[in-house]
C-alpha cells in the first residue's frame, strides 16, 4: 500500500518508474541506490506492506551530518519531477509465502499510478546460464508487448540482447516441450514480468548474470546499461565516477580490522 510522506499525494502520471527486484547479489537494489543518490531524488512516500521483512535505519544517502538523522523504511518511493522519473527502492527481502501478494500489490500500484513505463532492474545466477547464454554480454532485457509497441525503435537502436528462453529439460529433444523463461535467483522478476504481460502493463526487465560477492561493479554495469536507454546522466562512461556512491555502502564487508592483529 502506497502512503505519501507529505500531506499531498504526488502525481506519477506519465512518469517512468525504475525499481529493483531483490535478487542475487542485490544488484538491482545497488543500482537504484546509485540513481537516488546521484540525482538527489526526494522521498515522496512509502510502500507499507506486510510482504517485506521490517527494517529501519538512518538516511542511507546522507551527505552531511545535518541530514543523516532521518528514518528510512523497507520500501520507499523517490521522484525527480524534472526528469519525470520515479524510483521505488526495496531494502528488505520479500517474505517467501507472500511474494505473489507483493507482486500483485506492485502491479496494481503501477496501474493505478499511471506510470508511462516501468523498468525492473534485476539479476540472475551466472552459474545457471546455458551454453548460448555464456557467450557475449551478461546483460539481458525483457519487454512486455504493451511496452514493445511504444519502445520498439529505441530498443532496436540500442541493439540489446533479449533474455533467451531455455528448454524445459535440457538435452531432451522433444518437440512437445516448449522452451520457457527461466530466471533463477531473480526473486519476483519472472512473476512480475508475466503478471505485467497478462495485465497489459508497459514494463521492461533489465538483468545481469552475476554471482554473490562484491557486486558493486555489477551495479555500475547495470546502471550504465539503463542509462544508455533512459539518459539519466550524460555520458557517464567517459567519467566513470560520475555516479555517486551513497554513504550506506560503507563497511559492506564488516567492521574495521582491529589494529592489534598486526
Amino acid at each position: 500500500m502506497f502512503i505519501a510522506s507529505e500531506k499531498s499525494t504526488p502525481s506519477f502520471k506519465d512518469f517512468t518508474l525504475v525499481m529493483p527486484a531483490v535478487a542475487v547479489g542485490n544488484v538491482g537494489q545497488l543500482a537504484v541506490d546509485l540513481i537516488v543518490s546521484t540525482l538527489n531524488m526526494n522521498r515522496v512516500g512509502y510502500v507499507h506492506t506486510d510482504c517485506l521483512i521490517p527494517m529501519a535505519g538512518n538516511n542511507p544517502y546522507a551527505t552531511c551530518k545535518e541530514d543523516s538523522e532521518e528514518i528510512h523504511t523497507p520500501a520507499e518511493v523517490y521522484t525527480a519531477p524534472e526528469l519525470k522519473l520515479a524510483v521505488l527502492q526495496i531494502r528488505a527481502p520479500v517474505i517467501q509465502t507472500k511474494s505473489k501478494k507483493f507482486r500483485q500489490l506492485i502491479v496494481s500500484w503501477i496501474k493505478a499510478s499511471g506510470f508511462s513505463r516501468t523498468v525492473v532492474l534485476s539479476s540472475s545466477h551466472a552459474y545457471q546460464r546455458d551454453d548460448q547464454q555464456l557467450q557475449g554480454t551478461p546483460l539481458r532485457y525483457l519487454v512486455t508487448p504493451s511496452l514493445l509497441k511504444i519502445s520498439a525503435d529505441a530498443l532496436k537502436e540500442l541493439g540489446w540482447r533479449e533474455m533467451e528462453q531455455v528448454p524445459a529439460f535440457p538435452g531432451l529433444t522433444d518437440a512437445n516441450t516448449e522452451p520457457r523463461l527461466y530466471i533463477p535467483g531473480g526473486g519476483i522478476t519472472k512473476g512480475l514480468y508475466t503478471d505485467s504481460c497478462a495485465e497489459d502493463v508497459p514494463l521492461a526487465v533489465l538483468l545481469l548474470f552475476c554471482s554473490e560477492g562484491d557486486n558493486i561493479p555489477d551495479a555500475f554495469t547495470l546502471v550504465n546499461h539503463l542509462n544508455d536507454w533512459l539518459h539519466l546522466l550524460d555520458n557517464p562512461s567517459q567519467q566513470p565516477n560520475k555516479w555517486k556512491i551513497p554513504t550506506s555502502w560503507s563497511l559492506l564487508f564488516g567492521s574495521g580490522i582491529p589494529p592489534a592483529l598486526f
Binding site: 502512503i3 531483490v22 535478487a23 542475487v24 547479489g25 542485490n26 512509502y46 507499507h48 506492506t49 506486510d50 521483512i53 521490517p54 527494517m55 529501519a56 535505519g57 538512518n58 538516511n59 542511507p60 546522507a62 543523516s68 538523522e69 532521518e70 528514518i71 523504511t73 523497507p74 528488505a92 527481502p93 517474505i95 517467501q96 509465502t97 507472500k98 511474494s99 505473489k100 527461466y182 530466471i183 533463477p184 535467483g185 531473480g186 526473486g187 519472472k190 512473476g191 554473490e212 560477492g213 554513504t247 550506506s248 555502502w249 560503507s250 563497511l251 559492506l252 564487508f253 564488516g254 567492521s255 574495521g256 580490522i257 582491529p258 589494529p259 592489534a260
Partner: protein, 279 residues
Amino acid sequence: MATFFGEVLSVYSRAVEEDDEDLDENEEDEQIRRELEGKREVCLHWNPEVSEALRSGNKFHCSDFILASGVNASRFLSVYILTSANWDTVGHASVWNERSRPLNGQTSEESACVFYRHKDNPSLLICQVTCYIAEDQLFQWAEKVFDCLQHRDLKVTVLSDSSVADYRTADCLCNSSVPFLRSLHTTNYSGLPVCPSLEQPNIVTGLPAAVLNHCQVHHIAAVVYQCYSDIIGPDSVTMETYKPALTRLGKSIQLDWSPSADVFRKFVKTADIQSNLYI
C-alpha cells in the same frame, strides 16, 4: 559471502530463493497451509475491562507506550520500573511460530509478551517481549497493537537488545565501552537526544523496526534505543545502559534508580541455571 580474510559471512538479503514456480497445489496442501497461517496469527488477549472498552470503540488513551524487546530490555523494566508494584497486568499477546516451545505449557506463552498499565496514571502502558516473533508476524503485531491505542499525543519508546557483533564501525570497538546505546527515531519525534544516533550502515531489525515503520507511516512519535552488548543473557551492566533512555519519563514514572541486590538477584540468576557447560 567470504571476506578478505576468508571468513564466511551469512548475509541474509543475499539468500535468494529459487525461482518460484506457481505450483498447482492440491486441496490438502492448501488446507494445511491455511491452518498453519491461522495458527501463526498474532492474538491479543486483554482483561475483560479493557476488551469491553475496545469493543465499544474506546481505544487505549495512551500518552506513553514503552516496549521492551529482548531479555535485557525486559528485565531492565522489571528491575527499575515494575518492582514498584504500581502496575496492573492488562493483557498479553500470544504468538505461535516455529520456535515456540510447549515446554511450560500455557504459562510460557502468556509471559512472553505482556502488557502492563500504571495504576495511578492509566495512560502509561508497558509491554515486555521476550519471545521470538517470526518475520511474517512482526508487521501484524505492530498493526494489531497500535490498532488498540489512540494515536493522538502518543509517544512510543522502544528498548531493544542487540549483539555488538552486529554493530558495524570503521574503528575498532576494543577501546570503546561496550555495552552502549544508539537511537533511531521517527520524523515526528522531538526529544533531546540522550545517546548518539544509529550510524549508517547499521540498521534496526525485528520488532523495533516493525514498530518504527508503523509509527513513521502513521505519523506517531517513536524512538528506538538499541543497546549493543557483548553478553548473551540477562546482565546488570547491560540493563543499566538503558537508564538514560527513560530519564525523559522521570516525571511520570517513578523509577527505582538504585534497586536492591535482591531484586537483581531475582532477575539475573536464571542465566546461570541454563548453562550446564561446566557442571
